[in-house]
């Protein structure tokens, strides 16, 4: 009888602890490894502002302006678009983390990019937004701060010849997006 009581107590205690563990991250989304995501503060993805130079028909990066969104109003087939996304780590992490990057493309046939050798495509973390997930080759140490640059192998994306005129939105002529998300997953 006494053992049964202890058992019941332990069972309830286990349920409560597990529940509270997840409840603490109730606003996040579940990842493949069973943890939940807390957003913001620990890692940021940004890049320099892209400005179109009409005289040469190219995008140039403005080194004085860091942004988290760029809109490219003039895109034509075969275009090379300079792009330098980077990841900022403020160093407020107390434990080691593995750094992941998810890249989503609404029209993957139209835009081509190559990740640098520092990043490998990974299945270890489930994609949160249906994109491709890449893992960084170095772990992020506790309180490590700085900027990780050179995400793309030649700091550019390429528009393929599949792109069509904007007057044909139903045939690869509609605006499309490539978004990036970084994740720090506790490794200890």
């Amino acid at each position: 009888m006494r053992a049964g009581g202890i058992l019941l107590l332990m069972t309830l205690l286990s349920f409560r602890m597990v529940s509270s563990l997840y409840a603490g991250y109730a606003s996040g989304e579940m990842t493949g490894n069973g943890a939940a995501i807390a957003a913001g503060g620990m890692v940021t993805v940004a890049e320099h502002q892209a400005c179109f130079d009409r005289t040469v028909g190219e995008y140039r990066l403005n080194p004085a302006q860091i942004v988290t969104a760029n809109t490219y109003e003039v895109v034509v087939p075969g275009m090379k678009i300079e792009k330098d996304p980077f990841i900022q780590l403020p160093g407020n992490n107390d434990v080691s983390y593995t750094l992941y990057l998810e890249v989503t493309a609404t029209q993957p046939a139209i835009v081509r990019y190559t990740m640098s050798d520092d990043w490998q495509e990974s299945q270890r973390m489930a994609a949160q937004h249906g994109g491709k997930v890449y893992v960084y080759h170095h772990a992020v140490r506790p309180h490590e701060q700085g900027t990780i640059t050179g995400l793309l192998s030649d700091a550019a994306v390429y528009i393929t010849s599949e792109l069509r005129d904007k007057r044909r939105p139903d045939a690869n002529g509609a605006p499309f997006r490539v978004d990036m998300y970084a994740y720090l997953v506790q490794s200890d």
Binding site: A3, A35, A36, A38, V43, N70, S161, K166, L184
Partner: protein, 199 residues
């Protein structure tokens, strides 16, 4: 005796269940790791467009009744936000008021003379290519400038037909290369690009 054995078994079973639950709880604690997400870095790409270029030329009637064409430049639409290559096809012909083209083609130096601005245009396989790209709203240099012109020098072979010059202009993006190659859009579509001089 039987009661004692039963109690022992019950204790054993309960202990095993207790251990299993504790292990499960520990595993759950271990599997749940901190994950921190960044902002979303948004990159929106908007396909561009192009419009039919405008052709400007001057046609003058000479004292002898023949026609001469001067100028002839092409202006890509203002909406074109990038530099483009321009090429022109020029076709003199005899045509009547109903738009019927006379069957016999015109011959240079027998029916007309043509000299063009070779400094800023080059001829290749039936087209005149502007040597430099131009921008939306910006006119090309004239194909016929200064002393250059396309001038009629003979009368129509049949009454009712007059000297006409059909001009068609095309533009194509002067930026970008074909996927995984060094070929320009002009090289790929036109088979010729003034920059590289080959297909």
């Amino acid at each position: 005796m039987k009661k004692r054995v039963f109690r022992h078994r019950r204790r054993l079973i309960l202990t095993v269940i207790l251990l299993m639950l504790t292990t499960a709880h520990g595993t759950a604690m271990t599997a749940a790791k901190y994950v921190h997400s960044s902002n979303r870095a948004e990159h929106t790409y908007c396909p561009d467009t192009y419009d039919i270029p405008q052709i400007q030329r001057t046609v003058t009637r000479l004292d002898n009744g023949y026609c001469t064409m001067t100028g002839l430049s092409v202006t890509p639409s203002e909406d074109t936000d990038y530099p483009v290559w321009v090429r022109i096809a020029v076709l003199p012909l005899w045509e009547n008021a109903q738009g019927t083209v006379y069957g016999q083609p015109l011959t240079a130096d027998r029916d007309y003379t043509l000299s063009y601005n070779a400094e800023q245009w080059e001829w290749h396989d039936g087209y005149y290519y502007c040597r430099t790209p131009v921008y939306g709203g910006q006119a090309t240099p004239p194909l016929f400038n200064g002393t250059h012109s396309l001038t009629q020098i003979s009368t129509a072979p049949q009454e009712g037909y007059t000297f006409q010059v059909k001009v068609s202009a095309e533009t194509i993006q002067a930026i970008g290369i074909l996927d995984g190659s060094e070929q320009t859009a002009a090289g790929n579509s036109w088979g010729y690009c003034p920059t590289d001089g080959n297909a």
